[in-house]
């Protein structure tokens, strides 16, 4: 009986203690402080986010510039400049195709010889070989076989025949005066076929 009463008493004491264990109340104004804290967090978040965002963009742009610069420099290194001179004249068959590179080199060397230069010949040749770029534009080339044939034809042919050949569709002109006036100045013709190619 005494044990039961003692046990009951301990139970009641434990209940009372546990009921008061977490019965504390917060200080007044805790909600207000929490809300103010949240407002501060909200205000502090936006600039930080924008700051990070800005740095992200700056990093991306810098990386893009670096990659573009590397690509451009790499492309210049891989692809050397090539100058190909192609001569096409489908109407007249060519008797023989000469390689253009030696001719170009000879002409370039001839142009350099014209100018007084203090640079040694070996160094000049090395520079030319490295650059592979013609010194004069357009590249001077000697007359081709076809051009030489054309000039010799013009030199050995009367003017009337040349005019008639150059205007095959025009009707024949009657009268000496008109014929004389219609003849162009043939001194300009060799210049027209000059080596300006």
């Amino acid at each position: 009986m005494a044990d039961q009463e003692k046990d009951k008493r301990v139970d009641e004491m434990l209940d009372s203690l546990l009921a008061n264990y977490s019965s504390a109340e917060p200080r007044p104004g805790l909600e207000t402080r929490i809300l103010a804290n949240l407002r501060d967090a909200e205000e502090n978040k936006s600039p930080a986010g924008w700051w990070n965002f800005k740095w992200l963009w700056a990093g991306m742009v810098t990386a893009a510039i670096i990659v573009a610069a590397l690509l451009i420099s790499g492309r210049h290194r891989v692809e050397p400049p090539t100058h190909v001179i192609v001569k096409t004249s489908p109407a007249v068959p060519q008797p023989e195709i000469q390689p253009q590179a030696p001719i170009a080199r000879q002409e370039t060397a001839r142009i350099h010889r014209r100018k007084p230069s203090t640079v040694p010949a070996a160094q000049r040749n090395a520079t030319l070989a490295l650059s592979k770029r013609p010194a004069v534009f357009p590249t001077p080339t000697p007359l081709s076989e076809q051009e030489k044939l054309l000039l010799s034809y013009l030199a050995g042919t009367p003017r009337e025949e040349v005019i008639a050949e150059s205007h095959p569709d025009e009707p024949p002109v009657v009268g000496d005066q008109d014929q004389t006036e219609a003849i162009p100045d043939l001194t300009l013709i060799p210049q027209k076929f000059g080596n300006t190619r």
Binding site: A19, Y21, L35
Partner: protein, 201 residues
């Protein structure tokens, strides 16, 4: 066609209702600050630490504010955040660590506790509510195993019943009842021994 229109209208209404029912951080603060504080206080046993934990808890909630509409039970969700926040704070608190790591021998601690028990024959009701008894109970609870201790601490918060404690701790409700029974039994045995020691000594 009419059925589809009715279905779409129903879905729209339910979506609007869910949107309207979704709690905001402000409403959670207004409705549950007391519960959050008491959960933190039950674990930390200090007003200032409990308030700090409540602030930290609502900061965590604020970071998840975009997902508040996904929360089905805001009360237990918030209680769990408060519980984990307070446990984190207790782990990092050197004062509580030193309290829990008091390495007194059983005889020393028993004698100390027995001296702290006031004479029940004088005025039992007044003395039960005294600060000394509360301190003694805290010391007894600190010595409980961690699972029993956590469950008992949550059970002392008036706002939480067994089912809600189970949801907070992510354990079955039966386990909550079992733990509470075992914790209470151990506390009662120790309290009886202490009271007997006081009576005979």
């Amino acid at each position: 066609m009419a059925g589809q229109a009715i279905l779409g209208d129903t879905v729209l209404k339910s979506a609007i209702a869910m949107e309207a029912a979704a709690p905001t951080v402000e409403t959670l603060v207004a409705d549950h600050t007391g519960m959050v504080f008491r959960i933190a206080y039950s674990i930390l046993r200090n007003h200032h630490d409990a308030e700090d934990a409540a602030q930290e808890c609502f900061l965590r909630v604020w970071k998840q504010k975009d997902r508040l509409h996904e929360v089905s039970n805001a009360k237990t969700w918030l209680a769990r955040i408060a519980w984990t926040t307070a446990l984190d704070k207790r782990r990092s608190s050197r004062a509580m660590v030193s309290l829990s790591e008091v390495s007194l021998s059983d005889e020393q601690s028993g004698a100390e506790l027995a001296q702290s028990i006031p004479d029940l024959a004088v005025a039992a009701d007044q003395q039960l509510a005294s600060a000394q008894m509360q301190q003694m109970l805290e010391r007894l609870i600190v010595r409980l195993p961690e699972d029993l201790r956590s469950t008992l601490e949550l059970s002392t918060v008036q706002e939480l019943n067994s089912a809600e404690i189970a949801e907070v701790m992510k354990i079955p409700e039966g386990s909550v009842r079992t733990r509470l029974f075992r914790a209470r039994k151990q506390l009662k045995e120790k309290l009886t021994v202490l009271l007997e020691g006081r009576k005979h000594g």
